[in-house]
């Protein structure tokens, strides 16, 4: 093993592969070793059955807000962190929005698809997404008919889902659209309307045949750009932005070597030295959902999931409502004047809820930070849990100054935690 395995490394793993972990888990992982931590992450796959079953009446309400709350409840439950992390990634990759789909059941079914197949064979996932009713509504599958093909889905599958810009032509888009003619939705189910399908010969990426939709997808998946496209996504999500071409090629090869299995590829990734390198840590700006979830789980805070989902929405990431076909822009776009204010206010309110008996957020910062004995110990405790890679520089000095202001332990916990959570460094994951 290359990089040193310690609490900071464990924190990095749980934040990237899941949504953070409380101090107790980090201490355990640091002691048990990387492989044990990975076994733990990959083994936890089942949610509370009652929470899962509880979606049935929620869907009957025909409203996306309680479904958003439900998904956030699954994330905050931290019972299947990798499953939810990967589902969130595919929700961004195969973006559909309830703003257009307008059907909470379809949106939920799509996330269930990501949850079920997200860690499996990417090729199976792509085929399933292509038949997913939410996706077909989102990209106008019903209007894709012989003689008048609607190119929306074909364009996105080439550009965003499977290949990426630069690897196809406009003709490929038109031909692929013909292959998907007749694919539609009826009463929330995928239907193939043969009468609307164009059975004629097509030429896609230089290959010829009377392709249907599935055959067209196979053509795309056989193209060398396809594994690179998927590898690029995985590297951006789990390692850092703008991976080099060499690194993408390397991991495209590993993906194919793993028979396109996302779980096995991720395991290799989380075992790699690159994943734990200094360049990978804190290398991207956390998205709102991961920010609020990581903070809640790390500190052991409790809050109504609906409110947490709403807070993420105010910061710019409303679950089931990405802004467009490309998903969320991410990166620097997560932070602007309005969203920073929302982040600052939410995290400050969370820290200030310590010791308060008010409804809503409940957090015991003393327990969360490992019960520092005196105000003077709080800065170190906050650094260890929230900013484990932070050196003794300006920010840590600021934390220490706040911790030595001579106020009570409870107030010190609030102030130091608020400062740590609202420091720009904390918003890097």
């Amino acid at each position: 093993m290359g990089a040193e395995w310690n609490a900071a490394a464990a924190t990095h793993l749980y934040r990237r592969a899941g949504f953070g972990a409380p101090l107790e888990k980090i201490r355990w992982a640091a002691g048990a070793g990387r492989d044990a931590a990975l076994d733990d992450l990959f083994a936890r796959r089942e949610h509370d059955a009652r929470l899962m079953a509880g979606i049935r009446p929620i869907l009957a309400l025909e409203d996306i807000a309680p479904v958003q709350a439900w998904w956030m409840a699954l994330i905050l439950a931290d019972t299947a962190p990798l499953v939810e992390r990967v589902a969130l990634m595919w929700h961004d990759h195969f973006a559909t929005s309830d703003d257009k789909v307008g059907d909470a059941r379809l949106m939920h079914a799509e996330i269930e698809l990501f949850r079920e197949k997200g860690l499996g064979d990417f090729r199976e996932l792509l085929h399933a997404v292509a038949r997913d009713p939410a996706m077909l509504v989102w990209l106008d599958g019903n209007s894709n008919r012989r003689g008048q093909p609607n190119e929306n889905f074909a364009r996105e599958v080439l550009e965003l889902f499977a290949l990426g810009i630069g690897h196809y032509t406009e003709r490929d888009v038109r031909e692929a659209a013909r292959a998907f003619t007749g694919w539609g939705v009826d009463r929330r189910r995928f239907v193939f309307r043969e009468q609307y399908h164009d059975p004629g010969p097509k030429e896609i990426l230089g290959q010829r045949g009377a392709f249907g939709g599935d055959e067209a997808l196979d053509v795309l998946l056989r193209h060398p750009a396809s594994p690179r496209h998927v590898a690029h996504k995985l590297l951006e999500e789990f390692v850092g932005p703008d991976p080099s071409a060499e690194r993408v090629d390397e991991w495209a090869g590993i993906l194919v070597e793993c028979d396109w299995n996302v779980e096995r590829t991720l395991r290799r990734l989380f075992e790699s030295e690159m994943f734990y390198s200094g360049a990978a840590r804190r290398s991207r700006i956390s998205g709102p959902v991961e920010l609020v979830a990581i903070t809640m789980i790390t500190l052991g805070a409790k809050a109504p999931p609906g409110e947490v989902a709403e807070a993420a929405g105010e910061m710019g990431q409303s679950l089931f409502r990405p802004p467009g076909v490309k998903g969320w822009d991410g990166g620097r776009s997560w932070v602007h004047a309005g969203s920073w204010l929302a982040r600052h206010n939410h995290l400050t309110a969370l820290a200030m809820a310590h010791g308060a008996e008010a409804e809503g957020v409940q957090v015991d910062l003393a327990a969360g930070l490992g019960n520092p004995g005196a105000p003077g110990d709080v800065a170190e405790a906050a650094r260890a849990l929230l900013l484990p890679d932070l050196g003794d520089g300006e920010l840590f000095e600021a934390l220490r100054r706040v911790a030595s202001e001579g106020v009570s332990l409870d107030e010190t916990l609030r102030r130091v935690t608020a400062l740590a959570l609202t420091a720009p460094e904390y918003h890097l994951v």
């Binding site: 079953a53 025909e62 439900w70 509504v137």
Partner: protein, 588 residues
């Protein structure tokens, strides 16, 4: 320290209220009523004459035993850190005597609470008449001695009076609480001046204090002395000195939405000069009456509910009925008198409503042509219905229907059917724009009567059934009785009942609502999962907590055989609201 002692005493005093015993055969004629001990500037006054019977039995009292033995009680006890028996035993060990007996001694002949205001802050006063003065003195000494020990003080620092006022021993427990004991009279207040006033009033021979206020005497003349508790509120006074809730209550008559939702009597209840509230409770029944006196002429006029109200008959009750109501909503009157009844800022909403309603009635002026022809008496019936196979919603709700009598029913009935058609069309346009299922109109005959309804297309098999499938809206007309129902099957049932003459006149002369506990419990249980998930997702409860609360809610409903709510207008200037809850028989 004093704050803590005051807190300890505050614990004892309310407990006293819970163990009051029946008035002893003492020379009660020579002592003033407890109300006579309260200053005239008391805005809220409450007595608990009937608490005796409830609490003399302690944990063995039938009602208490029943509550503790119910599923609700078991849930409560499961969450409590200690059992009631252990809690009482623990207090007895510390106090050196049975807390129930001690409280009995302090309040044997009554306990009252008065609330006044000084410079905007509430001033509380408690007056209690106990049994033997010597025993009361001993109880107080024990309680204060215990409190002293709890806070590391010498017993002597607290058990002896700190001073005397009019011969009464007085204890000052910080700035927060002053106690006085004179013979069998125990007084307490968070304001020393108020305590002095009470001792002064106690020395007077003629009726004085609050008891001498004419409004108080009039409002409380019905006190029989065997109520569990009763209370009097000076609404006009409270609106001057106290809080927003009272002001909001008095403003309810000027809110059209509340007028429509709650009706005229409820909205005007807070508008009187004073209100009297009476509570009776035993193991079989709860009765709560609220009467508002001195309702101003202008408000009384807007109440509309006729003094000699003669509500029309409704389709007869069926065993399956979940709820039935007869409400008075003079919509035509609300529109007609809108400028007198409501503030200017809400009047545009009437214009908006008139315009919207005109859309459904082919441009007709609803204020002149439609609403005056609809009887203000509206019957409401809630009854479960059987859904079509495969169309039972995942959140199943009982159906509800409104039955209204129409004047010129032939003409107006057609307009109502037309409005229904328009409504279905509007809903369908909206649904089409959002790719949602359409409502399919259907016309049926029940014997010779037409039932016009609309239903959603059958839900996709295996995909869950949305909340909207509770709605199979229907309208029907039987002679002059117009039926508007959320579900076709209920409309058809009511049409059959009306045509067969299966109708009954409701008892009483005012509005009336009855709710069956079993039906409410069924709705809660049918939707337990949805209610629990709401607690988890929106209130942050754990699944165990949320499920427990839903079970408790169902358990409360199980305990209720029937809940009845009624309104009356006894005189031109008084209004009354009554609540009756019959509990299910033990073991049901």
């Amino acid at each position: 320290m004093n704050r803590i002692l005051a807190g300890a005493t505050c614990v004892v005093l309310p407990l006293a209220a819970w163990t009051a015993l029946p008035r002893a055969q003492a020379d009660v004629d020579s002592e003033p009523d407890l109300a006579a001990l309260m200053p005239e500037s008391t805005w809220i006054y409450a007595e608990g004459p009937g608490l005796a019977g409830l609490f003399a039995g302690g944990l063995d009292h039938p009602l208490v035993a029943r509550l503790l033995g119910s599923e609700l009680g078991e849930l409560f006890l499961a969450q409590a850190e200690t059992s009631p028996e252990d809690a009482l035993e623990r207090v007895e060990e510390r106090l050196g005597r049975s807390p129930l007996k001690a409280l009995e001694a302090m309040t044997a002949r009554g306990i009252a609470l008065g609330v006044g205001y000084k410079r905007g802050e509430p001033v509380y006063a408690i007056a209690a008449r106990g049994g033997e003065p010597e025993e009361m003195s001993a109880v107080l000494r024990d309680a204060l001695g215990w409190a002293a020990e709890q806070h590391g003080l010498e017993r002597s620092q607290l058990i002896e009076p700190h001073g005397r006022i009019r011969g009464a021993g007085v204890w000052y427990l910080g700035d927060e609480l002053t106690l006085a004991l004179e013979g069998d009279l125990f007084l307490a207040s968070n304001d020393e001046g108020r305590l002095r006033d009470m001792l002064d009033l106690g020395a007077l021979e003629e009726a004085a204090g609050l008891a001498s206020r004419p409004g108080f005497a009039e409002a409380t003349r019905g006190v029989a002395g065997d109520e569990l508790a009763w209370a009097w509120f000076d609404l006009a006074g409270l609106a001057q000195v106290a809080a927003e809730p009272v002001k909001n209550l008095r403003a309810a008559t000027g809110n059209p939405g509340l007028q429509f939702l709650l009706g005229p009597v409820f909205c005007a209840l807070g508008s009187g000069e004073a209100a009297y509230v009476e509570l009776e409770l035993d193991a079989e029944r709860l009765a709560l009456d609220v009467e508002s006196f001195g309702v101003a002429a202008g408000v009384a006029q807007s109440v509309q509910l006729p003094l000699d109200a003669r509500p029309p008959s409704l389709p007869s009750a069926k065993e399956s009925d979940g709820a039935r109501a007869l409400v008075y909503r003079d919509l035509a009157g609300l529109f007609r008198q809108r400028t007198e009844m409501f503030p200017a800022d809400v009047l545009p909403k009437f214009a908006e409503a008139t315009s919207t309603l005109a859309l459904f009635f082919g441009g007709a002026d609803v204020t002149d042509g439609i609403l005056p022809a609809i009887s203000p008496w509206l019957g409401v019936i809630v009854r479960p219905v059987a859904f079509d196979e495969g169309a039972t919603p995942d959140i199943p709700l009982p159906a509800a229907a409104i039955v209204a009598r129409l004047e010129d029913a032939g003409r107006l009935g057609e307009q109502m059917f037309g409005a229904f058609h328009t409504l279905v069309g509007v809903i369908n346009v909206e649904a089409a724009q959002n790719m949602q299922p359409q409502l399919i109109p259907k016309l049926e005959l029940v014997q010779a009567d037409q039932v016009l309804s609309a239903h959603y297309v059958e839900p996709a098999p295996g995909g869950g059934v949305d909340l909207r499938y509770n709605l199979v809206p229907a309208v029907a007309l039987v002679d002059d009785a117009f039926v508007l129902a959320t579900h076709r099957e209920l409309a058809k049932e009511l049409v059959g009942q009306l045509r067969r003459g299966e109708v009954e006149a409701p008892a009483g002369g005012g509005e009336h609502l009855s709710l069956e506990g079993a039906a409410a419990a069924r709705v809660v249980r049918d939707n337990a999962e949805a209610l629990a998930m709401n607690g988890v997702l929106n209130e942050g409860k754990t699944m165990e907590q949320a499920s427990g609360e839903v079970r408790a809610l169902a358990s409360i409903a199980d305990m209720v055989e029937r809940l009845e709510l009624f309104t009356q207008r006894p005189t031109a200037a008084s209004l009354r609201v009554g609540l009756r809850v019959d509990f299910t028989e033990r073991g049901e």
